[in-house]
C-alpha cells in the first residue's frame, strides 16, 4: 500500500496514534524521573520550568500575536514573591505559589494595558522596558528591605512535605522534578483547551486582524489583558518553583533579566509559535543545545556572557549559528518540521462535515500546506 497512509481525524486509528505519541513522551519523563541521576534531573526540571513559562508566552506571542520581551519580569516576580514570603516572612513555600499566581496575573493584566494601543515593535520595546525596569527595581537600594537589593535572598528551601512519597533532602531533586512536571502538564492542558475553543479563536482573530475581530464581537481589550494576565501567571508559577529549587534569588540570575525574556521568546519560536507542543520542544532544544554548545571550545561560552562573569569561548559562536540555522530549516519551528516529516508517513484527513444533510455538501479536501497551530 502506498505511503502516506490516510487517517481520519477523530477515528480509532487517529486516537491510537495520539495515545502512542502521548505515551512515549510520558514514558520518557517517567523513566527520567525514576532513573536519571541528580544533575540530569535538575537540568530536566529547569527545562520543564522554562517550558511552563514558554507555554504562557506562546499563548500571548504565538496565538494572540502580542510580542512580549518582558516575561523575565513575571518569571522574576514569581520567584521574588515566593522568596520574600518564605525568606523574610517565614511562609511555607507551597502557600506562596497561589500568591505568585494571583499577583502575576494581576500585574500581567495591568502591563497588558499598553497593548490596547501599541503594536509590533512599539509594544516589544515597552516590554523590554518592563524587563529592564524590573532588574533595576531589584537592585534599587530603597527597596532593599524587601528584595535584599543586589545581594538578594538566600537560604531558601522547600523540602518535600510528609504526604509525598519523597524522602526529605535525599529526594529533593525528584520532588522538584515531579512538581514541575505536574505544573507544566496543567498549564499545557489549560493552553491547549483554550486554543481549541471560542476564546482561543478570538485570540487568533486578534492576531490576524483586530478590526475584523472587533466587528465579529471580540472584545479586544478583554482578550488582550486576560491573555497577558494568564501568560504572566504561568511565568510566575514557574519562577516561584525555580527560586525554591535554586534556594536563592538575586538580580543577576539570567532568567530574571532581559536575556531571560529573549531566551523564552527564542524557545517559543524554535518550538513553533502557536502550536501546543511548541514550548516543550523549544525549551528542550534550547536547554540541551545551549549546554552542548557551551561545552564546545574553552571557557564558559554563552552562559558566561550573560551571567556577567568571564566571557570567552567558541560556544557563543556555535549557539548563534545554530539559532540562525534552525530558523532557516524549520520555518514553523521544530514542531512544524516534525509534522512535515509525519505527513510523509501519515496524512491526517479532516473530520467529515458535521451536517451531511446539506444538499450540496461536498467532501472537504485535506489542507495542502503545513500550517502551525
Amino acid at each position: 500500500m502506498a505511503w502516506p497512509k490516510d487517517v481520519r481525524r477523530g477515528s480509532a486509528w487517529h486516537r491510537v496514534g495520539q495515545l502512542v505519541l502521548f505515551g512515549l513522551v510520558a514514558l520518557f519523563f517517567i523513566r527520567a524521573g525514576l532513573t536519571w541521576n541528580r544533575s540530569g534531573i535538575g537540568q530536566l526540571t529547569d527545562m520543564l520550568l522554562f517550558a511552563t513559562a514558554a507555554v504562557g508566552l506562546n499563548l500571548l506571542v504565538g496565538v494572540t500575536g502580542q510580542i512580549s520581551l518582558g516575561h523575565s519580569a513575571f518569571f522574576g516576580l514569581g520567584a521574588y514573591t515566593s522568596a520574600v514570603l518564605v525568606g523574610q516572612y517565614g511562609w511555607t513555600p507551597g502557600w506562596t505559589f497561589p500568591v505568585s499566581i494571583v499577583l502575576c496575573f494581576a500585574v500581567g493584566m495591568v502591563v497588558g494595558l499598553p497593548a490596547l494601543r501599541l503594536k509590533g515593535v512599539y509594544l516589544a520595546l515597552v516590554s523590554i522596558a518592563l524587563a529592564t525596569t524590573f532588574t533595576q527595581l531589584l537592585n534599587w537600594d530603597r527597596l532593599a528591605w524587601l528584595t535584599g537589593g543586589p545581594i538578594g535572598i538566600k537560604g531558601l528551601s522547600y523540602l518535600p512535605p510528609s504526604w509525598t512519597p519523597f524522602d526529605g533532602r535525599a529526594d529533593l531533586g525528584k520532588w522538584f522534578f515531579w512538581m514541575s512536571l505536574v505544573v507544566f502538564v496543567i498549564c499545557t492542558l489549560i493552553a491547549s483547551s483554550m486554543i481549541r475553543s471560542r476564546f482561543g479563536r478570538s485570540m487568533v482573530a486578534v492576531r490576524d486582524n483586530e478590526t475584523a475581530a472587533a466587528v465579529m464581537g471580540v472584545n479586544l481589550a478583554a482578550v488582550k489583558t486576560l491573555v497577558f494576565g494568564l501568560s504572566a501567571a504561568m511565568a510566575g508559577i514557574a519562577g516561584s518553583i525555580f527560586a525554591m529549587k535554586l534556594t536563592l534569588v538575586e538580580p543577576v540570575v539570567q532568567f530574571f533579566t532581559l536575556f531571560g525574556s529573549i531566551f523564552l521568546l527564542v524557545m517559543v519560536v524554535l518550538g513553533g509559535a502557536g502550536s501546543t507542543w511548541g514550548p516543550l520542544v523549544g525549551a528542550f532544544i534550547f536547554v540541551y543545545v545551549r549546554d552542548w554548545a557551551s561545552g564546545v571550545g574553552e571557557g564558559n561560552g554563552v552562559l558566561g556572557l550573560f551571567e556577567g562573569t568571564r566571557i570567552g569561548g567558541l560556544g557563543g559562536i556555535v549557539f548563534g549559528v545554530l539559532l540562525i540555522v534552525i530558523v532557516f530549516v524549520a520555518p514553523f519551528g521544530a514542531v512544524g518540521l516534525l509534522r512535515k516529516a509525519r505527513a510523509k508517513v501519515v496524512r491526517v484527513l479532516p473530520r467529515p462535515p458535521a451536517l451531511p444533510t446539506v444538499a450540496n455538501a461536498q467532501e472537504p479536501q485535506p489542507p495542502t500546506t503545513v500550517v502551525s497551530g
Partner: protein, 253 residues
C-alpha cells in the same frame, strides 16, 4: 418599522469631510443599495455603523437604540454583521475557523470556561455544524480546511459573506461584494443575497458598483456624492435621476 435610521451623520478626518449630514432609513426586510463615486463616503458610512469610526455629529439608531452608546464589539451581538471591501479575513485560519469566528457573538464560552474546558465541546460542535452549513450554502465546503491565505480574491469575498452570515445577523452590511466577480458570478451572488434575505428575514445594506446587480435586487437605492445624499428612491427613480447620471452613472447603464 425602520431597522436602521441614520440621522445627520457627519465624519471629519483632519481637514477631510468624509460624511456631511447624511440621513436615510432602511425598513425591515428591505435590500437597500448605496451607490456613488469612489470617495463618496459609502465605506465610511459602514465604518460608522460598525463603530470603527466615531462620527463628529449625528445619530445612528438601530431598532430605536442609539448605536453610538454601544462599543465596537457589542455591535455583532445586536445583530449587525458586515463584510469588508478590501477583505479583512483571518489569513492563518481555515475557512471553517474564519466562519466559526464569525459566529463569535452567538457563543458564550469565555476565558474561564475555555481554560477549564466547561461546555467547550458542545459549543464547538454546534458552531462547527452551523459553519459547515453556511460554507456549503456558499459553495465553499470543499475548501473548509484550507487556510484563507492565498485563495483567489473572489473566493475570499464569498468567505466574507459566509463569515458575516455566521453571526445570524438581522442587518447585513455588504461592502462591494461583487467586485472582482464576473457577470455570471455576480448573477449567482444576487440570487444568494436574495435567498438569504428571504430565508433569514434579513435587512440588507449594500454598497456596489455593479449597476445591474444593485438595480436588480434593491428595494430602494440611496445615491451619494461628497458625503451627501444626492438621490433616494426606487432603483428606477434613481437610475433616471439627472444628478446621479452626471455624477456617477455616465452614459452607459
Amino acid at each position: 418599522m425602520s431597522v436602521l435610521q441614520v440621522q445627520d451623520v457627519s465624519v471629519r478626518f483632519g481637514g477631510i469631510q468624509a460624511l456631511a449630514g447624511l440621513s436615510f432609513d432602511i425598513d425591515e426586510g428591505q435590500i437597500c443599495g448605496l451607490i456613488g463615486p469612489n470617495g463618496a463616503g459609502k465605506t465610511t458610512m459602514f465604518n460608522v455603523v460598525s463603530r470603527i469610526y466615531e462620527p463628529t455629529e449625528g445619530k445612528v439608531l438601530y431598532r430605536g437604540q442609539d448605536l453610538l452608546d454601544v462599543p465596537a464589539h457589542g455591535i455583532a451581538r445586536l445583530g449587525i454583521a458586515r463584510t469588508f471591501q478590501n477583505l479583512a479575513l483571518f489569513p492563518t485560519m481555515t475557512l471553517l475557523q474564519n466562519t466559526m469566528t464569525g459566529a463569535h457573538c452567538t457563543g458564550n464560552v469565555g476565558f474561564v470556561r475555555s481554560a477549564l474546558r466547561i461546555g467547550v465541546r458542545s459549543e464547538e460542535k454546534r458552531m462547527e455544524a452551523e459553519a459547515f452549513e453556511i460554507l456549503a450554502r456558499l459553495g465553499l465546503a470543499p475548501l473548509a480546511y484550507r487556510p484563507a491565505m492565498g485563495l483567489p480574491f473572489g473566493t475570499l469575498k464569498r468567505l466574507e459573506i459566509a463569515r458575516a452570515l455566521a453571526a445570524k445577523p438581522s442587518l447585513l452590511l455588504l461592502d462591494e461584494p461583487a467586485s472582482g466577480l464576473t457577470h455570471s458570478e455576480v448573477d449567482e451572488l444576487s440570487e444568494t443575497i436574495h435567498d438569504v434575505r428571504d430565508q433569514f428575514g434579513l435587512t440588507v445594506l449594500l454598497v456596489e458598483h455593479h449597476m445591474s446587480m444593485v438595480m436588480g435586487i434593491s428595494d430602494k437605492v440611496v445615491a451619494m456624492e461628497f458625503g451627501r445624499k444626492i438621490a433616494e428612491g426606487t432603483p428606477h427613480e434613481v437610475r433616471n435621476d439627472p444628478h446621479v447620471i452626471a455624477a456617477y452613472l455616465g452614459t452607459e447603464v
